[in-house]
């Protein structure tokens, strides 16, 4: 008899746990938030907890997927009429893939008034090119830089270079001492695109060329651009032996384990470098320009956005959360917990490296292919990444790279067909 009573009790408890929402009734909403940032789960859980305490009745579950599978999972879910309520989205064309077909809820300054404070350049990454509407709250801006190991620099008697020639000389000194100057490899094309984003803008003239090429006054066959790409070839002797087989994790390990003196990459690496090696003493600088009196250009871009599924049953709760991610309070936590530059204006940056990145951003130029040419397939990035592998492995000349990118883009960039 007692056993039967116990069984009934356990069964009732099980049923109760299955329907926790029923108890609290209408006002409770359980939202899911999909993301590709598996490594940031801890930080997001902490930030979400703050929101949940402030907004009783709204529960948010952060569900990260593997980065390489995220797009596939998200698009299958959305096309099947399902998917999360809150969506971690990329920016520019990566956002438009989902926004243009109508899978995202349009936001505007009335719905999310906090967005009025955001700089217009950041908002470009959150707009659809189809209807010009806003579909997300930008979360971070990224800047491309050169990291250096302070200890190795000091031991080799090398200081942070002020000019391109000084940069090459510094690397020669390091190499002569038997060190690997650069950690960068070429097995993964996107790391080469990043390298071009660091090296090339100083030589093609940054935003002036960006404006000209996006307005259709020139294209990537322009020697201004291809000569700038050619500068990357000067780095080849200072990359690891067999660098064409060096993938991204190997690059990171080389720098983190102090086996390479420098790493060309994005400011998004800061958190990872620190987490991997607490004793790593590293700094960063912008790619040195030709002459010492020039202020260097840095490539920067809006990293991504938080968006809302157009079909969410909890639109009000989702908007509430999205609005909160546009507040300085959220931005501050984001910057402090993840060591990344929040896109929210007014965030106090305490981290000295990020302060430096912020200062460098006073002369920022759009990361050219992502901001300007990743809106339709084939994207400028797809074309450039493979062609750069051809260039760095000696199969192609910079002029051929420029030609291939221009030809590929001409299928959807009208001005390139002339």
């Amino acid at each position: 008899m007692i056993r039967r009573l116990l069984t009934v009790l356990v069964a009732l408890m099980l049923v109760a746990t299955l329907f926790p929402g029923e108890v609290r009734g209408q006002e409770s909403a359980k939202l899911t938030f999909w993301s590709w940032r598996t490594e940031d789960k801890g930080a997001y859980d902490r930030m979400i907890k703050v929101f949940e305490q402030r907004n009783p009745g709204i529960k948010i579950e952060f569900v990260p997927f593997r980065q390489t599978e995220y797009n596939t999972i998200l698009s299958s879910a959305l096309t099947g009429g399902k998917g999360p309520d809150i969506i971690h989205l990329r920016a520019y064309g990566g956002l438009d893939t989902f926004a243009a077909p109508g899978y995202l809820a349009p936001l505007d300054y009335d719905k999310v008034p906090e967005l009025k404070r955001f700089p217009l350049q950041t908002m470009v990454g959150a707009r659809s090119r189809k209807d010009g509407k806003i579909y997300g709250v930008p979360f971070a801006t990224q800047t491309l830089v050169i990291f250096y190991n302070k200890k190795i620099f000091a031991q080799a008697g090398v200081s942070v270079p002020k000019t391109w020639d000084g940069f090459l000389n510094a690397m020669k000194t390091l190499k002569d001492k038997g060190l690997t100057p650069l950690a960068n490899g070429g097995k993964e094309g996107w790391t080469l695109e990043i390298m071009s984003g660091v090296v090339a803008p100083n030589f093609y003239g940054g935003t002036t060329f960006y404006e000209a090429v996006t307005r259709g006054q020139t294209n990537f066959r322009d020697p201004t651009y291809t000569n700038a790409l050619a500068k990357m070839l000067e780095l080849r002797p200072y990359m690891p032996q067999g660098f064409m087989g060096v993938d991204y994790p190997t690059m990171q390990q080389l720098f983190v384990n102090e086996q390479a003196a420098m790493f060309i990459g994005g400011a998004f690496e800061i958190g990872f470098f620190r987490q991997q090696n607490k004793n790593l003493d590293f700094g960063l600088f912008a790619a040195p320009p030709e002459k010492a009196d020039q202020v260097p250009w840095v490539s920067s871009y809006a990293d991504g956005n938080y968006g809302i599924n157009a079909k969410t049953p909890y639109m009000d709760a989702a908007v509430k959360f999205i609005r909160w991610t546009a507040t300085t309070e959220f931005g501050q936590m984001f910057t402090d917990l993840l060591a990344q530059m929040s896109a929210v204006p007014g965030v106090q940056i305490k981290d000295p490296l990020l302060q430096q990145v912020q200062a460098m951003n006073r002369k920022a130029t759009p990361y050219i292919m992502l901001v300007g040419f990743r809106w339709q397939a084939p994207t400028g990035s797809t074309l450039l990444q493979s062609a750069l592998q051809g260039m760095m492995s000696g199969q192609m000349t910079p002029a051929q790279v420029g030609d291939e990118v221009t030809r590929g883009l001409s299928s959807w960039v009208d001005s390139f067909r002339r």
Binding site: T68, A100, P101, G245, T382, R407, S411
Partner: protein, 303 residues
């Protein structure tokens, strides 16, 4: 009697047919349908006729990528036939003679087949890493410095290296199939030939090989389908873009990249992706049917 027999047939075949229809037939037809529509991001728009195919065959860079990927599939097929299957046949012939330790060798040859492909891919990527990998270190230690290179990053070696990794993993499978085929050859035939004084080579050429034809049909067909469906290993070892500079690009990767997009690099173009899938299906269905018909004809029935 006849009716109940038919009912049983239906009952037993229904689950398999249903699964096949849901997971094989339906996707093939939906890919065919998708390839005939215009796409905006992931949203389906109006009927577009053959526009996607026209784009695939006429708009740069697609025709070049398609030709390049197709050529790589062909190379993988030829190399796999030459290296993996011929070595497997040799091993099977040796094992069939039952040398000392046959069972141990059989297990050793088959062991890599049982390993997960993901593990095989990661393991070889590590071995071949130019900075940390043991392959280059071993070559340098053996004094073969001229051979030290980024095997997977050098456009001239990447595809061959990948094919060899694949052959290493699969070798045991054709070996076992051939071994089973050889063991199925009736001993009387072999004994009769040997008593008549036929040299070993003639025994192999005139008795074993003709009777092995069914195994050859199976292995050639499977190798063909495997080579043209090749996706997992290049994906695990090299990633989606077929690096360096499309040197390891194959149809499977090109399809996946176009249909589902590359993270942080390329956007989805389901129209192009589906048309690649349709082309792959047509090529594979035609060639494997014709190939199987041809190979079947040379098979000898054991009467």
């Amino acid at each position: 009697m006849q009716a109940s027999r038919r009912l049983w047939l239906v009952i037993f075949l229904a689950p398999a047919t249903a699964l096949f229809a849901t997971f094989i037939t339906y996707p093939i037809f939906s890919a065919l349908a998708y390839s005939l529509y215009a796409w905006e991001g992931i949203g389906r728009r109006g009927f577009a006729g053959l526009a996607n195919f026209v784009r695939l065959f006429q708009t740069f860079p697609y025709p070049r990528l398609l030709g390049n990927a197709f050529l790589h599939n062909v190379i993988v097929f030829v190399l796999t036939m030459l290296i993996q299957n011929i070595v497997a046949l040799g091993l099977a012939l040796l094992l069939a003679r039952g040398p000392w330790g046959t069972r141990v060798y059989r297990v050793i040859f088959f062991l890599p087949v049982t390993l997960s492909l993901i593990i095989v891919g990661f393991m070889w990527a590590l071995f071949l890493n130019p900075v940390f990998g043991i392959v280059n270190k071993a070559l340098a230690a053996a004094g073969a410095d001229w051979l030290v290179r980024p095997w997977l990053g050098d456009p001239s070696t990447a595809l061959v290296t990948l094919t060899l990794i694949n052959a290493w993993r699969w070798l045991g499978f054709p070996t076992l199939v051939f071994l089973a085929g050889i063991n199925a050859v009736p001993d009387e035939y072999l004994e009769a030939a040997r008593i008549d004084g036929a040299p070993e080579w003639d025994v192999m050429r005139r008795i074993i090989f003709p009777l092995l034809a069914p195994s050859v049909t199976i292995i050639v067909t499977l190798t063909f389908i495997g080579s043209f469906n090749w996706f997992e290993l290049p994906y695990v070892v090299q990633g989606l873009s077929g690096p360096p500079n499309r040197a390891t690009d194959v149809l499977g990767l090109m399809f996946y990249r176009s249909a589902f997009g590359e993270v942080d690099t390329g956007l989805q173009d389901i129209g192009i992706g589906s048309s690649i899938a349709v082309m792959m299906f047509i090529v594979m269905a035609t060639v494997s049917t014709l190939g199987a018909l041809y190979l079947r004809r040379r098979e000898v029935e054991l009467g």
